[in-house]
Amino acid sequence: MPEKNLVTAIHDTLWDEMKADDRVLVMGEDVGARGGVFRATAGFLDEFGEDRVIDTPLAESSIVGLAIGMAMHGLLPVAEIQFADFIHPAFDQLVSEAARIRYRSNGDFDVPMVVRAPYGGGVHGALYHSQSIEAFYGHVPGLKVITPSTPYDAKGMLRAAIRDPDPVLFLEHKKCYRLIKGEVPDEAYEVPIGPADVKREGDDLTCVSYGLMLHQCLEAAAKLEEEQGVQVEVIDVRTIAPLDKKTILDSVRKTAKAMVVYEDNRTYGVGAEIVATIAEEAMFDLDGPLVRIGGPDIPAMPFSTPLEHFYMPTVEGIHRAMKELAEF
């Protein structure tokens, strides 16, 4: 099986989907000749032509709004927002429109659209090229929000997203784009939207994460097992909304200890819902404190290296927290 990095897996899957179904098209800023600033659509313009590879004006609200219209008229648009930080002008189109059209029409209309957005920090992107946005959209009933963190999941979930009859916000951690490699089968397959995934099994404690932090948790977990044989079960949430509580709760009931790690600003972040869910439904199964690690509550990651490092949760920090919790 070929090994690919995350962005290549996304590129190739998009390519296959475009090949397979001409209702699928890509649109966004610089997706054409430039092939996307992260090269996710490199070569698409030559292969599929201008009509299916739309270089849009610099206007995110309309990128999403246009995609909604296309999706309501028989197409399967995959819109790219160049950086997740720049999706904010489209907040209204995503929240008031994409997420509500099925509901408000009592099931008459649907919006089979995918919006891709590179998010997350650690890339020297400063305040406006580093943000996490999953907490904003996870709170919007009618939207599916997913964050595959491995090339294998990215391929399977992108295919599932394009085939999903509802709008899907497909978040790609840009630091994982080239950092994370893995085997990706050539044949088509789907990884269903919804189920979380146990990326590493263990009986001693449950660590719930996603995105770049998932990989840091896996690294910390491996380190801890080597050092002390502590077995950490690492769960990849993968689908932020709708949230798969069962996989998380089953694991917590097994290990009786839980921690949640995420990169986004801590307060009112995705980790809050996960911790709250565990507390409400499995508190009496716990024999240790609930631990939450998140980014500091500052607007975003600053540019200068020392400041950026200050922001990012580290493998060491996660490892320390795992150790303490295991020893509790």
Partner: protein
């Protein structure tokens, strides 16, 4: 005097409109007007908590909706567009199922406020409350039509207020870049609720903005059915034949408050409203029909009576229709299995 002459001239044949067409248009306008009267009556009776009036807009709505091909073209209206939706195929009963928020309301099954139109079957795109959000959808649909090689076009309606929103600009800009098969219709009634046009725009002629997007714009008397119809027919032909978008501004007036929650006395003098009522598009159209010998005072009265009965029946049927089952509030957040 010129007025007179123009009134007497045959304005419909040159537009390819037959007597039958005109009578059908008149019937639709009158139906909308009577639905409006009925819904306000129901509001005063406490049976309709919230209503959105159309009165004053019937002329430009029926005229600009008429050239659209039902079953093929797509309608993207806003809440004021009862008459557009009647042309598209909604019935008075549909209107009142919405007014009462009943389970059978075709637009939303009672989920949305009244006048938030939508019907996949009729080609009316589901609309929301946020102003101007439907305009990028309209351009997206027009793109899909072009992409799929359909010979269909999109009609997109909105008020003067909508032209201030960023989405309006972005949607028209994209339509201009891609020469999309679409017609944008501004129903300019001079106010966004209470905000007069002078505080909404530095220009009085909103249609000139089309130039900045690379297509044509035109402002017409929104109370003159023939003027609106003529402009729309040209725009629809242009769109269908690959000539790209058009922006049409219909200058009209809203006779009632913004909605049943509004009190327009705070921002409009009664004199202003009375003046506007003298230019009632329905009265002007009826005057033409009479001069053309197509109808008469008596016939109009008879028609009014007939339609009023039809509307009253629609109200009764809608009123007696079942409410949604509370539990159904949980449905259709996402697609349902199977």
């Amino acid at each position: 005097m010129a007025q007179q002459v123009q009134q007497e001239a045959d304005r419909h044949s040159p537009l390819g409109l037959t007597e039958e067409d005109l009578l059908a248009m008149h019937r639709t306008m009158l139906t909308a007007r009577l639905c409006d009267e009925a819904q306000f009556r129901l509001n005063r009776q406490g049976k309709a908590p919230f209503v959105v009036p159309v009165s004053g807009h019937e002329g430009c709505q029926v005229a600009t909706a008429w050239p659209m091909e039902r079953g093929k073209d797509v309608f993207v209206p806003y809440y004021r567009d009862m008459a557009v939706c009647l042309v598209a195929g909604m019935t008075p009963k549909d209107v009142f199922l919405g007014v009462f928020g009943k389970a059978e309301d075709p637009s939303s099954g009672g989920r949305q406020m009244p006048a938030h139109w939508g019907s996949k079957q009729l080609g009316i795109i589901s609309g929301s409350s946020p102003i101007a959000t439907q305009i990028p959808h309209a351009s997206g649909i027009a793109y899909a039509m072009k992409y799929r090689g359909e010979d269909a076009i999109v009609g997109c309606w909105f008020g003067d207020g909508a032209t201030s929103e960023g989405d309006w600009h972005e949607a028209l800009n994209f339509a201009g870049v891609h020469d999309l098969p679409i017609v944008f219709v501004i129903e300019n009634n001079l106010y966004a609720i209470s905000v007069p046009l002078s505080k909404q725009a530095g220009v009085s002629d909103l249609s000139i903005r089309a130039e900045g997007y690379g297509f044509g714009g035109e402002s017409v008397d929104g109370n003159d059915v023939f003027a609106c119809y003529r402009a729309m027919v040209e725009a629809v032909d242009r769109a269908r034949s690959g000539g790209g978008p058009t922006l049409i501004e219909c200058r009209t007036y809203r006779f009632h408050p913004h909605t049943s929650d509004d009190d327009d006395r705070t921002y409009r003098t009664r004199e202003e409203v009375e003046e506007a009522r003298k230019r009632d598009p329905i009265l002007q159209f009826e005057a033409y029909l009479q001069q053309a010998g197509m109808t008469s005072e008596d016939k109009i009265e008879a028609l009014r009576a007939e339609l009023k009965e039809e509307v009253d029946r629609a109200v009764d049927e809608a009123w007696n229709a079942p409410d949604p089952d509370p539990e159904t509030a949980l449905r259709h957040v996402f697609a349902e299995e199977g």
